[in-house]
Amino acid sequence: MNISAKQGERFAHAGLALLLLGLLPLALGPYWLNLVGKYLAFSFVAVGIVLAWGYCGILSLGQGVFFGFGGYAMAMFLKLEASAPELPDFMVWSSVEKLPFWWEPYSSLTVTIASIFLVPIPVAFIFAYAIFRKRVSGVYFAIVTIALSMTLVVLNIGQQGETGGANGITDFSTLLGFDIINDAGKVAIYWVEVVLLLTATTLAALLLHSRFGKLLIAVRDREDRVRFSGFDTAMIKAFIFTVSAVLSSVGGAMFALQAGLVTPSLIGAVTSVELVIYAAVGGRLSVVGAVIGALLVGFMKSYLSEHFPEIWLFFLGGMFIFVVWVLPNGLADLFRKILRVKA
């Protein structure tokens, strides 16, 4: 079978939709669907990493910051609902007597959802534009982002009374009175997530096919030349970084809904690096590959850690080395080879 790159891509997107909307819901019960949903939460981040890293060359090791933001925002709302009209339990334990002012907006679901989408925009944009304007890029940018995520973890843990500290935020089970832990709730959240994810992958593919998508590649390969064609490349890079931040935040919110807890480790450097690995395994130049990579690595993590609790990390590390070694462009490359997609 010989097919063009365009056909191959359509095939991949259709296959992903079929898998998420048809095969998995039919084949899996609520317990497994909930697990898949958790893995898919990370795939939002992986799609963002494909856009920023794969296409624009911006390696961020701090995506966990935005993932964590979305997760905490959602968890704060759920926690307030769970403990209303009292203060959240961890606040009481730390003798916090009044709800901190920055918690107050999160008693409204509308505001919570809006903040999940909107807050990362100015934060990520200003942070990234300031750095890219100074022509800091490549490894140095990665170091700045990893430092940012480590700093925020320390800050978060230090504020036990306001953030839940090292324990994070736990113990919530309803969304506007709707049970999210029972089977019907898990399945409903899965559907919401899949619709959001397929929207994201479709928009990402459209973005990459626009002139802006070509510009991303141009900036990745020859940033100087792009600047000397009259573009403010810092603006282009900050924009795509912001897009990836919003995707991460949405993924974080979906994670909080399905995992039933958020902890500071979500923000941390280890999560951030793992997220890059998901994208690399799936294929850093493939939006669909990133989703599959997140699913696969997520599943392997669960499976291996259950069956080989002592040594599972070695398997995971081994898999990563294998993929990078044999398939530098990830699993997406394998499919391209099988289907003989022309470059």
């Binding site: 973005l207 626009s210 002139r211 141009a218 020859r222 792009v226 600047r227 000397f228 064609s229 009259g230």
Partner: protein, 277 residues
């Protein structure tokens, strides 16, 4: 010679209105400088005390094709770097149609109408020739405008026209990384043509080209110079002779000599430092 001059000034009159419609903003801001597109005064840059360019004065006319020559380390590339904003001058002034360039950032200078071709071909190898050209369209520099950009008929025609001009019409759909070295050089010149720069700075455009490609490039540059100003750095004296009316010789960051190819070649100072070697 007189004829050529007359036809260029004719070109000024007939070509101007066109570029006014293409980029009204630029022309509104700029003030004419007695037919000079670029004037450089007392330009100096020093790197850790070493003066790569030292008190240089020179000017380029509208629609002029100027060749800059000089031995290695004469400051040729550094001069172009300063004009296009890649290197900031230590002191002195560079004015493009009356606008001081020293304080502007590189992409702002490009938007005024100064284009730069680098020494090694600098193109987007992962994109096709057509995509390379499309990216360089001057009016669309914003993020949103790029996302919602549609290839209009005019854009396609412009890409076709430039591709024809740079002899790559048959390669529009080819990944530009697969082009030959000489074709890559042409493509980068094509990017500047798409940008519609009024002043093009070309750093060794025929480096690594076959003799036939050199001839074709000479013809290409002469065609371009009809309506634009060009500053070309070149080592190959045969090539210089084939395109240049006026040559500037730099030596150790200073202006050594300026004039026609013959004048420069007969200048004893030039013979001593450069051609005599």
């Amino acid at each position: 010679m007189d004829n050529a001059l007359a036809s260029t000034s004719f070109a000024v009159a007939s070509e101007r209105p066109e570029s006014t419609t293409a980029r009204p903003l630029v022309n509104a801001k700029s003030t004419p400088m007695n037919g000079k597109i670029l004037s450089i005064e007392a330009l100096t840059v020093s790197f850790d005390g070493f003066k790569a360019v030292d008190g240089l004065d020179m000017s380029i006319d509208e629609n002029e094709l100027r060749v800059v020559i000089g031995p290695n380390g004469a400051g040729k590339t550094t001069l172009l770097d300063m004009i296009c904003g890649k290197t900031k001058p230590t002191s002195g002034s560079i004015r493009f149609r009356g606008t001081e360039l020293g304080k502007l950032s590189d992409y702002q200078i490009v938007r005024l109408g100064v284009g730069r071709k680098f020494q090694t071909p600098s193109i987007y190898e992962d994109l096709t020739v057509a995509e390379n050209l499309e990216i360089s369209i001057p009016q669309v520099h914003g993020v949103w405008a790029s996302i919602f950009f549609r290839r209009s008929k005019e854009v396609r025609e412009r890409i076709g026209y430039v591709a024809e001009e740079i002899m790559l019409k048959d390669h529009l759909r080819m990944k530009s990384g697969k082009l030959s070295h000489g074709q890559k050089q042409w493509l980068e010149i094509g990017l500047l043509l798409m940008q519609d720069s009024d002043l093009m700075l070309l750093d060794e455009p025929v480096a690594g080209m076959s003799p036939r490609e050199r001839e074709e490039t000479a013809e290409l540059l002469k065609r371009i110079a009809n309506g634009k100003s060009l500053v070309v750095i070149e080592h190959d004296m045969d090539f210089v002779r084939s395109i240049a009316k006026k040559v500037t010789v730099l030596h150790q960051g200073r202006l050594l000599s300026e004039g026609s190819v013959e004048e420069v070649q007969n200048d004893p100072r030039v013979i001593e430092v450069y051609l005599g070697h």
